[in-house]
Subunit: 210 residues, 2 copies
């Protein structure tokens, strides 16, 4: 019997997951939570083998919740559940200690397979994600990973809120010139060529929420 907890702030999706997985004989749903906080609060009292963790949530996100859960109990296995097949955040999630990665558009059987695989001590990644990783590895094995700095993430989030360079400079108490530097570094690192593309890239890479 595999004890599974579910953390996702979408009621219907979570309730659906609970019901779908409850049908499986070998899976036992020990709890479902609508936030990282409520999950961690109940964490001590539950016997959990595997957590299905949404990455994008209001309040504490899946990456933070995964780090904290792993620090409380390193044996726990976490499978990230996500909407998009994008570049940057599965690395963050893997670094946080996740053992698997499943897309929300995956079906029941893929999800059960992922749970079984991870419970046996393995890893599971959706095909689409593996493909993305493989292509990325082939295409850019010489390029070093261009990660956004804290300040750049801050600026990116303000850009996505629709603030102009001038407005951002006023919010962050820095000169417009500095914001310009951040802007162009963000565009270069993200490999996007204008703000429209950047906003969509930021959403897919979990830097901002719509």
């Amino acid at each position: 019997m595999i004890n599974v907890a579910i953390v996702d702030d979408h009621e219907m999706f979570r309730e659906g997951l609970v019901l779908v997985l409850s049908q499986e004989d070998e899976i036992n749903i020990v709890g479902d939570f609508n936030s990282g906080d409520s999950f961690l609060k109940a964490f001590g009292e539950l016997d959990i083998d595997i957590v299905l963790m949404d990455i994008k949530m209001e309040g504490m996100n899946g990456i933070e919740a995964t780090k904290k859960a792993k620090s409380l109990n390193p044996d726990i296995k976490i499978i990230a559940v996500t909407m998009f097949v994008e570049d940057s955040y599965y690395m963050q999630m893997l670094n946080a200690g996740a053992h698997g990665f499943v897309l929300k558009k995956a079906g029941k059987y893929e999800l059960v397979q992922a749970i079984q695989e991870v419970h046996k001590g393995g890893n599971y990644f959706s095909q689409e994600i593996l493909q993305k990783m493989a292509f990325k590895a082939i295409a850019g094995k010489d390029e070093k990973e261009q990660q956004l700095s804290k300040r750049e993430i801050e600026v990116l989030q303000l850009i996505c809120k629709g603030l102009s360079t001038k407005e951002i400079s006023e919010v962050l108490f820095i000169s417009q010139k500095t914001v310009e530097v951040h802007r162009s570094n963000i565009l270069r690192k993200s490999d996007q060529k204008n703000i429209a593309q950047l906003v969509i890239w930021a959403i897919k890479n979990n830097y901002t929420t719509i």
Copy 2:
């Protein structure tokens, strides 16, 4: 007994919905479909009272599918299921003939309530949507609804793909000046002040997909 069909291209969400609603004694799931096309193909052979219709789908979207279903059978009731609480597309969906509007983050009980209400011949709208409509009505009762034209929607979608004014003019075989006119009309009608805001507005209003 209420015969319900579900149209949504997210496997897990749809499977979840099926299971959640199957638990209800008065609800009978007669079919679930991953696209507007597959739904309409099966439409003739099924006895459907109510359709839970996702608005945002690959291929034919929920608005088109709703229009076609209503033209085939005007008695059918459609409840739109959607991710965002935004301005423009519930009007489109209502014009297409929808009787209800439920957010994806709604819980099981709200959804069942919506189905019952619509089946009785009424309408159902999530609180958040009613609030949005009410505030909109109060704030802008003199302003007439500024709807985007076909060409503007075309331009908007190209903007969201990250094309510059020059590139758009080349794709559409019109002058840059004309594209500029469309751009500024889109910004004015959407009441957004730059491209970053516009892209997010377009996503929320279902003009483009991420």
